[in-house]
Amino acid sequence: MPRSDLTLALVGSGGDGVITMGDMIAQAGASEGLNVIKVEAYGPQIRGGESSTTVRVSGDEIFAQADFVDILVVFAWKDFARFKSEIMVAPNAIIFSEAKDETEVDGADLGAGPEATWIKVPFIELAKEAAGTTLAKNIVTLGLVSELFSLPQEPIRKAIVNKFSKKKAKVLEANLKGFAAGIEFAKGLDTDLSDWRLEYTPGEPKLLMSGNEAAAVGAIHAGCRFFSGYPITPSSEVLHFLSQWMPMVGGSVVQTEDELAAIGGVLGASFAGVKAMTATSGPGLALMTEMLGLASMAELPAVIFDVQRGGPSTGLPTKSEQSDLWQALYGSHGDAPRVVLAPADVEDCFHTVVDAFNIAEEYQIPVIVLSDQNIAQRSETLSMLTLSHEVKERVTPAAGELEDYKRYKETPTGVSPMTWPGIEGGQYQTNGLEHDEYGKPTSMFLVHEKMNAKRYRKLRPIRDEFHFIRRYGPDDADVGILCWGSSKGPVKEAVQRANARGEKVAAFVPQVLYPFPKHEFEEFLKEIKEFIVIELSYSAQFYKYLRTFLELPEGHTNIVKRSGGKNLTVHEVEEEIKKALPQASTKREVLV
């Protein structure tokens, strides 16, 4: 029976072209309206080392990488070793490998069961014969897998034509021959793989974007016209994209000497009345925390896009983790209010960035958007329709407000009229010192207390106005799961599977972490019987943060936390649900 959802993993080393291969499958899928999620991984070698690409294509909605790979292609087993714990195949997977490679492989190591199908393919030979170069191995593979598993073959062929049409005609021709050879080889195979064919109804083409790209587009959409940043994995694509597009919309990109200058540039531009953003990762955010406090104190709008990776220190720079949370919430000296948002998928990256600008500009407060490597660097299909979002502009003070102008005037919301250079009569002198309503420095306790209160007062209206929350599953769930960021994908999928089994499981995913949507969450808590909180942080940063202001159900709270470095799997979530369900059925009282 053909299937609607298929995951392929391709493993090789530099020059094997596995990344190109993944791209082409993803592009072809997207052009056919399929849902695609593609991730890449690399060994420590900068170039020429091991690399892998994993593509999930599906006719149904998908929310994460699959836990298990259905189809694995390995050009050399020694390259695979690097990914052993990262790429697990399904027990009944189809495993293709280079015929010449005689490495002994223990299927159990990969997750393969006795029911797995092992197929040796003379990739090198086929490529050499058909295309005259072993470089065409990947194109041969595309022919093979597209034929065997009914991947969109015509679009893949077009992708090949596209890629090589800029080169000499001979090169294109050779590659098309390689493609054909792969198809031919597939046709000649006598193993029946028809159960593995992908069945889908073609639809409108979809966009294919990474989280970092979506964030960058979000910034431009929100009206950001100044970006300063310092490259750092896994956030650099934001800088790359904006270096191209920002000038086209009339804005500026400055690659600064370090992260201190990056946040400084943002605060300067913002002070000057221009929407501004920076992007970084944990180590860079650490360097920015001093000036984040300045943004809180001088009440400057600022958007800091932070893509989390494994820590501490340089840590695991290419892997995902959810351990920048504390630093984002608490990483400044003094009582320095800020807002923390967190996208949970690629599309969210667009929306949270626009929200971040809206909040920053309306409330004159720094907003940190905590993305993570998982959603930042994976490619995902999106519909154009979902990518629109209302944009708010900074409000110029009314004329009357400029008489005896108080930049930090006390107001019920804590928000004061803000001018910027160019506005005649709006001049003011600000600073990072404690100051009075005019901005004049003071060290008086009473002013300090009043101004602290003013700055924190903004958080309440922000909470009331912005509640970007996702909720899955039935209202009267037995088990309720709370998670954030990229953990959403596997959690949502696990919840849907559980619901399909008739299990009453629900999930709550806040995209606004601070100020936390407390009301909504407490409503959620009331309904459920057993509570699970899931995160990828060894020290359980999210759980501990929740405890600072929430009463979590005593005896019914299951803390699921581990280090990052490996993305959360649906299986892990399902295991937790399995453990929690019986607890829920034995205890009937409502929580909280």
Binding site: Q27, F226, E257, G426, Q429
Partner: protein, 290 residues
């Protein structure tokens, strides 16, 4: 009164905040020279931004009735970059101390020089950390005893002028807060200069370096020779690491594209005369191109 009719006098730029400086502090001279230079140039307060880091000297923006920002230690130039690049029509002036600009902020100084950002930077050099009560600064002479160098400063001093020239500033001058006329002129010329103008001002700290500083400087002070070729990096370098004299005046001035010019050229090239793409148009580029 509309902007065009206004005539700005030095006093027009005064705020009602009283300077916290010690009586006799060199920074008063810098502030007054700045007021005068601004008046000479008739800078519109609402189109002028004065920024700084932290230090006695960095308190200055609070006393100038333009847009002003006394930011955090060492980072004045980073904010100035954001201001000038995002709002190129404003006149941007940055001030700070030797510690602010050469110690904690040294990297930003170096890179802002290199980029030739079109702002004027006034380094108020008192050879000491004034605000924190008398510690060694990068410009403190070797061997001098300070609060943080009980046995004498073990480090050679930096010459800010040398650093500015070597790292690419296109206008480099040395001034003295006790010479109001010259300083006013230097600041005026610095603001007029299209590109990064660096003005190293000897501005004595009477509290932690003593009143005698004025005498010491006056003794050594001389003007830049008439025949000095300001466009020669080599010639300008001769006025660095001076021991027995202190040369005042414009030491170096050349014309190079500013950072803003370069970014503007990029915008032109990128836009190619076409209107700004909409979000939708940008998004469309993410459709597979098969």
């Amino acid at each position: 009164m509309s902007a065009t009719e206004t005539v700005f006098k030095p006093g027009s730029y005064k705020t009602d905040l009283k300077p916290v400086w010690c009586p006799g502090c060199g920074d008063f001279g810098v502030l007054n020279a700045l007021y005068r230079a601004m008046a000479k140039l008739q800078l519109e307060p609402w189109n002028t931004v004065v920024l700084s880091g932290i230090g006695c000297s960095s308190r200055l923006p609070g006393y100038v009735a333009t847009y002003g920002f006394n930011s955090v230690h060492g980072r004045g130039l980073t904010l100035a970059t954001g201001v000038k690049i995002s709002r190129p029509d404003t006149t941007v002036i940055v001030v700070g101390g030797d510690g602010d600009g050469m110690a904690i902020g040294g990297n930003h100084l170096m890179h802002t020089c290199r980029r030739n950002l079109d702002v004027t930077y006034i380094l108020m050099d008192n050879e000491i950390y004034g605000l924190t009560k008398g510690q060694t600064a990068p410009t403190t002479p070797t061997g001098d005893k300070t609060k943080s160098s009980f046995w004498g400063n073990p480090e050679p001093a930096v010459d800010p002028v040398e650093l500015a020239i070597a790292t690419g500033a296109t206008f480099v001058a040395r001034g003295y807060s006790g010479d109001m006329k010259m300083l006013t002129e230097l600041i005026q010329r610095g603001i007029e200069h299209h590109g990064f103008s660096f003005i190293n001002v000897l501005s004595p700290c009477v509290t932690w370096r003593g009143e005698t500083q004025y005498g010491i400087i006056k003794e050594k002070l001389r003007s830049v020779p008439e025949d000095h070729d300001v466009t020669s990096r080599e010639a300008a370098m001769r006025f660095t690491r001076e021991k027995d004299v202190v040369t005042e005046g414009v030491l170096y001035e050349v014309h190079e594209p500013t950072f803003g010019d370069q970014l503007e050229a990029i915008r032109k090239k990128a836009q190619g005369g076409k209107p700004e793409p909409s979000t939708k148009e940008i998004l469309k580029t993410f459709y597979p191109t098969l």
